[in-house]
Amino acid sequence: MGNEIACQSCDLLVSVAATKHGESASCPRCGCFLTKRHDDALRRVLAFASIGLMFLVFASSYPFLSLSSSGVESAITLIQAPFALWSKGMPEVAVLVTAFIIVIPATVLMMMLTLCILINRGRYHSSLLPLAKGIFMGQKWSMVEVFLIAVIVAMVKIAAMATVTIGISFWAYAAFAICFTLATSNLDRYQCWQKIELLAIK
């Protein structure tokens, strides 16, 4: 019991009982990835999520990029970037951008922290399921890595017109993106459901 997964993409029931630590399983019918077993995954998720959040605080507090051309200079912080769109008459896009690059990823990491702490306490809590659902939904809408590529493209575009300098916040955001990716890749969907189920039965 509890060792069978219904494949998300084709609904086939697959037994993963034989999967050992460090091994992963895919659906034999459609090839969709199912699970990767990591016995100490929660500890790593906890670590990457908390370090990631610290980097995000750093990234929001210092200059992100600065620009200078014939003696005139301008610098922006991470938060100011979408805010400029708002003041130029595009509040909808500004809200979307802020959500995709800051609000949703930060919320996902905070939910991961809460989930890990609650599971570690070893008691069932009614917020476990909504938290897990929120985390996996939020991951689909987090675009930290896309934003990093966009920064590089933007720098290439302005390089011809003015001198761009990378601020310390850019590096902090890059570190945040790495932590975010590591935290999400360590939180396995199936392992997560199974842990919650075990606590619910207890």
Partner: protein, 172 residues
């Protein structure tokens, strides 16, 4: 069971049509304006790619071309194709179609790259009367296309690809 089926397909189709309609202004109108020393220049998404090539940054031009031009149109076509095959109870290799759907799901968010580029440029390039960059209306429609296609992929139930196979099996 049958209800879930119709609902998923109809919702996906409605979202796909909306995204396709928005895709037209997203490409025709300027995504940003560059104001340099009084001269105003508008650029569309495709214009941005050409500009990057002219600047000698072919690799970056390729990145923008792939994510902003190829991915959104390929994604719309792939989803239309998947909906169509499910509607027709097609028996075409379901494993292949499953893989196509997973690729669509995976690359969806990468199309936002151009919107983020415009965001950064608008915020950063505010050099008094020397050089100012402003967002264009296509930014709204393009962001809409990306978000609506992600929701469309989300509402498409990929298990339908396999449900049809089971229907066929039970008939035989």
């Amino acid at each position: 069971m049958h209800l879930r089926k119709n609902d998923s397909i109809q919702r996906t189709l409605a979202l796909l049509v909306t995204a396709s309609l928005l895709y037209i202004p997203a490409n025709l109108y300027p995504v940003m304006y560059t104001d340099a020393l009084g001269s105003n220049e508008a650029s569309t998404i495709m214009g941005g790619v050409v500009l990057l090539i002219n600047l000698g940054s072919a690799p970056v031009a390729l990145v923008i071309f792939v994510f902003s031009v190829m991915v959104p149109s390929a994604k719309l076509m792939a989803l239309f194709y998947l909906v169509w095959t499910v509607e027709r109870h097609s028996a075409l290799d379901p494993r292949q179609r499953s893989r196509l759907f997973r690729i669509v799901e995976f690359i969806g968010k990468w199309s936002m790259v151009d919107i983020f580029v415009v965001t950064i440029l608008v915020a950063l390039v505010q050099l008094g009367g020397l050089l100012v960059i402003l967002p264009g209306v296509a930014a709204i429609s393009f962001a809409g296309v990306v978000v609506i296609t992600i929701i469309a992929a989300e509402s498409f139930d990929s298990r339908l690809i396999w449900d049809n196979m089971e229907d066929k099996d039970s008939v035989n």
